[in-house]
């Protein structure tokens, strides 16, 4: 197998990459007659398989006033069907030494099992049955609502930085439902019931709104046959309309939010900028944002860490990120925490200086090469984990990307130019489309800082 793709060779003439891209496995992708999509990611190193189903519905598809419903239904999907009542599915997974879990995000809801290969078809049958066969009684729904409320306590209410992040999202999106927390606003979670869950389930859980991703010791041929016999039998029960959510108007005013909690021992400043996602970006743009965020804020030699932590000694930590897997908007972020004696204002000003510099002068050729090598190497490291690959493909397809976009991502990264990175910085570090969040001990102490 050639370890170097032809396009890399072509570009290598200009600057030899220190890291070769690697093709990875051959991905198969097909759609059943009922509209269910299937992706197969072969990995023959161990006799195990990761089986996932992704529904193209998430928190951003909820009706206003019902926040948390997508996530609540995800929990309730473990309550059994007419054919497999109670926790029969979970019992069977446990009996074969399998693992299972589920997750909800703004754009998708997913369920997975990791099992020895020979049990895959059985898992497919269980999961197919669960697409339309869920049975809910108040007896199981009510305790589960309490579980979700405790989850909200554990993840959010106990944790000041998560609470700040929720408030920042609510401020960043003026109109789009990404402003709502995936887990929901607590008063709205409290009011969810069985009827809400079933209505949501009937509207969105149908084979024509689902993607099955299977990674592991399998071949596309056997999967196609097994999928026809299991998933293929489920009749679509709902028309799925295009996912059009309210979009953001032109954003005109920078926002700031301050979260004060007496338990905050380490203040920090965080800023989110509205950015395009991989799905909505112009060609090359989201890849330029990946490189930008990497150069600015990943690792000990990144610009922000170098300037704030090492050279100026004013911050304990500083970094940047870009999250681009989303149907409607991506997010570009920067953050820093002051050393004792320095203020949030000092740190924010230093971050702004670094951002202004990169917007004006761009990045060096060396920084560009280093970032590309690292991002491309990450895709090789990811091949070590079939579950990681399955999540990549599932999340991408559930947010409007294609299999080709995922597979060709290393090429797109290799093609990023320094000019494109500077252009991305100039365009998307736009204060008017941003929110800055301060995590502080008390509102009084923050006044002193500003």
């Amino acid at each position: 197998m050639s370890k170097i793709l032809p396009f890399v060779l072509a570009l290598a003439a200009a600057s030899a990459p220190a890291v070769s891209a690697w093709a990875g496995p051959d991905i198969a992708h097909f759609t059943l007659g009922n509209g269910l999509e299937v992706v197969v990611v072969p990995d023959h190193r161990a006799p195990v398989v990761t089986h996932m189903i992704w529904y193209k519905v998430g928190a951003a598809d909820e009706t206003p006033g019902k926040s948390g419903l997508a996530h609540f239904l995800e929990h309730l999907m473990f309550k059994g069907t007419a054919q497999n009542p109670g926790n029969g599915f979970s019992q069977q997974i446990a009996a074969i030494g399998g693992q299972e879990n589920a997750f909800t995000a703004s754009d998708y809801t997913g369920f997975f099992q990791r099992v020895p290969r020979e049990h895959l078809k059985e898992m497919m049958a269980f999961e197919a049955d669960r697409i339309t066969g869920l049975v809910l009684t108040n007896e199981v729904v009510r305790p589960e609502l309490n579980v979700v409320l405790e989850e909200q306590n554990m993840r959010v209410a106990n944790n000041p930085s998560t609470r700040l992040s929720e408030q920042m999202d609510a401020a960043l999106y003026l109109n789009h439902p990404y402003g709502r927390p995936t887990i929901g606003w607590r008063p709205e979670i409290e009011s969810l019931d069985r009827d809400d869950a079933l209505a949501f389930y009937r509207r969105f859980y149908t084979p024509n709104n689902a993607i099955v991703v299977i990674a592991g010791d399998v071949t596309p041929e056997e999967i196609r046959a097994d999928a026809e016999e299991t998933y293929g039998k489920i009749v679509p029960r709902a028309e799925i309309s295009p996912r059009r959510r309210p979009q953001e108007p032109p954003q005109e005013a920078p926002r700031t939010v301050t979260l004060a909690d007496s338990r905050v021992e380490q203040p920090s400043v965080n800023r989110y900028y509205l950015a395009p996602s991989r799905t909505t970006a112009k060609p090359g743009e989201s890849e330029a944002l990946e490189v930008l965020a990497h150069v600015l804020g990943t690792g000990a030699n990144s610009r922000l860490y170098r300037a704030l932590v090492v050279d100026q000694g004013m911050a304990l930590n500083a970094g940047a990120f870009y999250s681009g897997t989303a149907l409607d908007y991506g997010k570009l972020g920067v953050y820093g925490s002051p050393t004792p004696g320095k203020t949030l204002h000092d740190v924010e000003a230093a971050i702004d200086t670094v951002l202004a510099d990169v917007s004006e002068h761009g990045i060096t050729a060396d920084e560009l090469d280093l970032a590309k090598n690292r991002l491309i190497a990450d895709t090789v490291y990811a091949q070590d984990n079939q579950a990681t690959l399955a999540r990549w493909y599932g999340a991408a397809l559930a947010t409007g990307e294609t299999v080709d976009m995922v597979r060709d991502w290393p090429e797109a990264i290799r093609a990023v130019s320094a000019d494109a990175v500077r252009e991305a910085a100039r365009t998307w570090f736009n204060r008017r489309a941003s929110v800055t969040g301060y995590l502080v001990n008390s509102l009084k102490s923050e006044e002193k800082h500003s």
Binding site: K3, A18, A105, S106, T182, N301
Partner: protein
């Protein structure tokens, strides 16, 4: 917006997860994985699994002698060493060293645990020579430049300040302090706000000189590399280390404070608990029976007794689980949950009742059969990535279980009888619990004046 909300993940309390030095990883028969014992000309041993399917190499290793070897009054020394080993070595200062790693996308990291100092290297096959050189420098010639020491020290202190108001961290810390008062296991691996400032560069150098040696080194290599190349790597990387470490003797202990309940007030919505007692040593003939009993109580799956009673039936918590923890000088079982403040007393009573019920009556024949099936089947899932295999092989060496452990394991599971399970349930669970509770639990108070 891609905040993932796993619905059912049994999030172990962070601190508890850190405390578990050995994950429960077991072998099933007929695995594709073949382990090769490799001994270098210089006498250094490694366990190797060749896996040419992906062009990368994973090297994991451990020096026996972790945080237990911290000098008195200087808890956190091993942790500070681990955080600094990749901050410059030989003639290369921190910036230059990081740049070398980044240029070739080499991942290098170290971590202190109670009994070991662990290291991890990931490289693409094509960059392996440079990766091995970087690793050699890091373990044989770390710099500990004062500037880097102060940056990392400030970051650790910041983490400790944050942990000081995190309910899960407090519950866990207090549990270990109480169970292992006057023993190194009672000291936090990360150190304390008092001990970390007291650690000098001399302490770091002294720790490194005493602990990083060949006789207490365990190495695993997994990936695209053959035995000859591993042999030359072993001598090149580790050959210059002293033959023998200078380890202080550590007393064997049992957890203390059984029957005690300690309530620590904190203004959070939940009551976060850690509970546990004495366990069974890794090499004890009853270990496997204990592991099965623990699995039935609160390990593994969504069908454990604690999960069913606390979460599924009553919705008292999002997560509840417990694990066996085996250390070089002690053994315990330790669990955790986070529950509604107004029902904290009820939750703890329920957990206590389930533990006593299992201690008195043992598991049912059906539970035993299911637990065995689970443990036999689950093993393959621990061997599906190079990184997981490497970590497991180091753990098996640290536990002294022998290279044939995979082959012996199924029989060790299958020969556990119902009588064994009943006897060991009593032995494991009848000793009483030490419980720490953080929050504002209603109806719960400390059992002594804490």
């Amino acid at each position: 917006m891609n905040m993932m909300v796993p619905a059912l993940s049994r999030c172990i309390l962070r601190g508890v997860a850190v405390a578990i030095v050995a994950l429960p990883l077991y072998a099933a028969p007929a695995l594709a994985t073949t382990i090769e014992r490799v001994v270098s000309p210089g006498g250094i041993e490694a366990w190797l699994v060749r896996e040419p399917a992906i062009p990368m190499i994973a090297v994991d290793f451990a020096f026996v002698g972790g945080a237990v070897q911290d000098p008195a009054g200087k808890a956190g020394t091993a942790n500070l060493v681990a955080s600094l080993l990749d901050e410059g070595a030989g003639d290369l200062d921190s910036k230059t060293f990081h740049a070398r790693l980044e240029r070739k996308a080499i991942e290098l990291g170290f971590q202190a645990e109670r009994d070991t100092l662990r290291g991890m290297l990931r490289t693409l096959t094509e960059n392996r020579d440079e990766a091995f050189e970087d690793l050699r420098l890091a373990v044989t010639a770390p710099r500990f430049d004062q500037t880097d020491v102060e940056i990392i020290r400030a970051q650790i202190l910041s983490t400790l300040r944050r942990a000081a108001t995190s309910p899960a961290d407090i519950a866990n810390l207090r549990w270990w302090q109480t169970a292992f008062a006057d023993h190194p296991y009672g000291r936090p691996v990360d150190g304390t706000l008092e001990s970390v400032p007291a650690i000098g560069v001399d302490d770091l150098k002294d720790y490194t000189r005493r602990v990083l040696a060949r006789a207490n080194l365990k190495v695993a290599v997994v990936g695209d590399i053959d035995a000859e190349a591993v042999k030359s790597m072993l001598d090149r990387v580790f050959g210059a280390l002293p033959a023998q470490p200078e380890l202080k003797p550590v007393a064997t202990v049992s957890p203390q404070g059984l029957g005690r309940r300690i309530v620590i007030k904190l203004d959070v919505p939940q009551a976060v608990m850690a509970f546990g007692g004495p366990g069974i040593a890794r090499k004890d003939p009853d270990f496997m029976a204990a592991y099965i009993v623990n699995h039935i109580l609160g390990g593994g799956t969504f069908s454990s007794r604690l999960f069913r009673e606390v979460r599924e039936k009553r919705g008292l918590a999002y997560s509840v689980s417990d694990s066996l923890v085996w250390l070089d000088h002690s053994a315990l079982f330790l669990g955790g949950t986070a529950t509604r403040a107004d029902r904290a007393g009820e939750t703890l009573e329920l957990i206590d009742k389930e533990i006593r019920r299992l201690a008195e009556n043992g598991p049912t024949a059906d539970e035993l059969a299911k637990a065995k099936a689970y443990l036999n089947g689950a093993f393959a899932l621990n061997l599906d990535t190079s990184s997981k295999i490497a970590a497991l092989l180091v753990q098996l060496q640290c536990d002294g279980l022998g290279i044939d452990y995979f082959a012996r394991r199924p029989e060790m599971i299958n020969t556990v009888t119902l009588d064994d399970a009943r006897r060991v349930a009593k032995r494991l669970l009848d000793g009483g619990l030490l419980v720490t509770v953080v929050g504002r639990p209603e109806g719960l108070a400390s059992t002594s004046a804490d």
